[in-house]
Symmetry: C2
Subunit: 444 residues, 2 copies
């Protein structure tokens, strides 16, 4: 009974977020930026209370013996606040993602078609115990005119509640209000919203593979994200060995827990006898544990890999090595065992590199550079909402662009379709027009 009551309340709040988001969506960029500035000022004014809430989360986490990497993400101090405020300034400075004209076409005299970018509606975002992420996500949704349903990691609950309270009070006196934001406080709420496919337009779950899988299997709402990050480097027979070693080390060790770190090293048989000993020395020197197939083990003394090792996201300093007989075998291995995230070829053969970029259907396909570059900030997207390994909507690192989509506007002067059918139908002109002026939906 209690749970139903709460759910009714949640349903109402999320529907209200949809309505409030429509107001955000049709408001000017200036008004949305004004909201961002108010939030920034509010966080500054409310800093004391937010830090205090964070200290409660931190000491609870310490008591529970959480890892130091979790504690590092969880802390919200003056330094994190500064970064969050810089982030708000940066998002404010990004170009308005709403209203961009993607296409403009004259269908016939007086009948003009435009494809114009608008927000998606309401985004459901479930993310790790990182309070700074909450502010970033809120800022991206305001900027893109979307409503947001937020659920942060449970370890950050007190901090998140303080942040949400601050944001709400900053927006209270603004005409756009804060109804576009709903904060979920329990995992049960997350399971409940998975059924709200009429009211939530996109889910972006971040977190463990099993959690993302759980979300994907239990909702009709489109999901943007990635479960696995099984990335590979293929060292071609025409690779520069020194470069290949350097790229393998960076791609594996620069941040082993990241989804864009490699789990698999594929090596062409012709270069393996030269490359593998050098690579093993450098990787093992950086603490990497190698596991290899039979051909690898004939060249370097490493543990024998099991077949499952090539389907495993180690998220640690373990790397599965495999010697391949050909380029084709490498591409086939990536298609079979990779997760479509980020894969790289190391070669001096330009024709082959170009072919690899066509043949490998991953979100990011790289040539002679570290897989660790697969990231919204490094790509220059301004901000990142997540990384998608799906094939539709947005692939790879997703910035503000992934929170908007083109819809069609058509302006006529009383045009009817019956004039274009029947005995002597009018013909369409279908003439492309320049798309660089404001859309027909812009305020005039």
């Amino acid at each position: 009974m209690e749970s139903n009551k709460e759910n009714n309340h949640l349903t109402a709040d999320i529907r209200e977020a949809g309505r409030a988001a429509r107001a955000l969506s049709s408001s000017s960029a200036e008004k949305r930026n004004d909201l961002l500035r108010r939030i920034r000022d509010g966080l500054f004014a409310d800093a004391h209370g937010i830090f205090e809430a964070n200290r409660r989360d931190m000491s609870a986490a310490e008591t529970e013996g959480e890892t130091s990497s979790l504690m590092k993400r969880l802390v919200f101090d003056r330094c994190k606040l500064d970064a969050v405020q810089d982030g708000l300034v940066a998002v404010e400075a990004l170009p308005d993602p709403i209203g961009t004209v993607e296409e403009r076409r004259l269908l016939d005299d007086g009948l003009v078609l435009e494809k114009v970018r608008f927000p998606l509606g309401v985004i459901g975002m479930i993310f790790e115990a990182r309070p700074d992420a909450l502010v970033q996500i809120v800022s991206l949704c305001i900027k893109s005119g979307n409503g947001i349903v937020l659920k942060g990691g449970r370890e950050a609950l007190e901090t998140n509640k303080a942040l949400v309270a601050s944001i709400r009070s900053s927006c209270a006196s603004h005409p756009l209000g804060s109804g576009w934001m709903v904060h979920l406080e329990s995992r049960g709420d997350v399971d409940f919203i998975l059924g709200m496919d009429k009211d939530i337009d996109l889910l972006i779950p971040r977190g463990s593979n099993s959690f993302v899988q759980h979300v994907m299997s239990n909702t009709r709402i489109p999901v943007l994200g990635h479960a696995d990050g099984i990335c590979a480097i293929y060292v071609d027979k025409d690779a520069d060995v020194t470069m290949a070693v350097r790229l393998a080390v960076d791609s594996k060790t620069q941040y082993p827990a990241a989804c864009n770190s490699i789990e698999t090293l594929l090596v062409h048989q012709a270069i393996a006898p030269v490359f593998l000993p050098e690579a093993a020395a450098a990787l093992e020197g950086n603490g990497v544990k190698l596991k290899g197939d039979e051909a690898t083990c004939r060249i370097i003394a490493v543990e024998k890999a099991s077949p499952q090792d090539y389907d495993t996201e180690f998220i640690s300093l373990t790397l599965a090595v495999k010697v391949v007989e050909s380029y084709e075998e490498a591409v086939e291995h990536i298609a079979e065992h990779g997760s479509g995230h980020t894969d790289c070829i190391v070669t001096e053969n330009e024709g082959l590199a170009r072919r690899f970029m066509r043949d490998v259907d991953s979100s990011d396909v790289f040539w002679n550079c570290s897989t660790r570059f697969a990231d919204g900030f490094r790509f220059g997207l301004g901000a990142e909402v997540g990384i998608s390994t799906g094939k539709i909507h947005a692939r790879g690192p997703v910035g503000l662009d992934g929170l908007v989509n083109g819809r069609w506007l058509l302006k006529g002067q009383g045009h009817v379709v019956s004039d274009y059918s029947g005995a002597s139908p009018r013909k369409f002109k279908h003439q492309e027009l320049p798309a660089d002026s404001p859309s027909m939906a812009a305020e005039n």
Copy 2:
């Protein structure tokens, strides 16, 4: 047991389609166009057998007492063959959708990023009993480098089998073969493939609302399409009454069974006394049955509408009319009861029309023209794979563009991320570059 055997067979065929599609995807436009030409010649050569198969379908449909509109779609004669062949020529003439550079950015010296369009992989397409649609769908998938799993309406099975046999034999001697195509012959096969989310990248179901709902509820594969088509015209107080009547008649009667026909007519109270009598005369003169709310019934003598009438896709000559007190009420009604397909405002007030285009979050939002224009051909997209009412990937009429998506290519010279972190990190340049030259993945 037998069913499992078949399913194993189907699984293998669909995986093979994925592999064959990768070859399609990385082949040149010329080779894909060559395949289209061979299919065209083959259909011409095999016409006799195809017509014979169609006569079997037609006489079975006649025996079963199918409707004349089904029979019209089902027939495949010389005239349909001519149209199909023209269609193949038209698809051949479309620009290559693969390899378009959407963005190009210099991340740092020697480190260049591109976002380039590539096929999605394998498309599952379930469509009505229209044999000509089979050829069109196959041609669009070849052109866009996607594998295709096809299931046509059961009434067209013999014709479809003959078409598929002809297409397969035309492609047999071509290096790209015909493994990218899988033809399903039973509804059970459709239910089976709904579970193949690792091997099928997008489903496009066309057909009844309940069938599309069934697909959406029973798969993790992304679905592009629409269940309902509840479209509305809002006649504003500043509408040109003659134009509004003309648009209502065309939008309702030009093809009442189409998803872009209107089911709802919203009328501002200030114009209702003038507009409704004229509209009723014109609509009823065209065989339309009107149902109205109380305010409507006070002005014209029509049947009282039930609340459900405003949530119903009549797909027939019934139209629900409602008098609204304000623009806001009209927008709210569309948000609440519409299906996000196509909605139109009739007004001479430009500022209000612009606002409507921002406020109404439907795939197609029109001003002073018939909702029946919401169609890929009329929009000038060349060909249409379906109409989507989803918010992500592609909205509204979807052409070849919806069968490709941008993925990220990055070319370096041994660049590693560790140089961009730590004590004195290198800074990214993030400099936009012109995107009008061929991508780094193009054959050189």
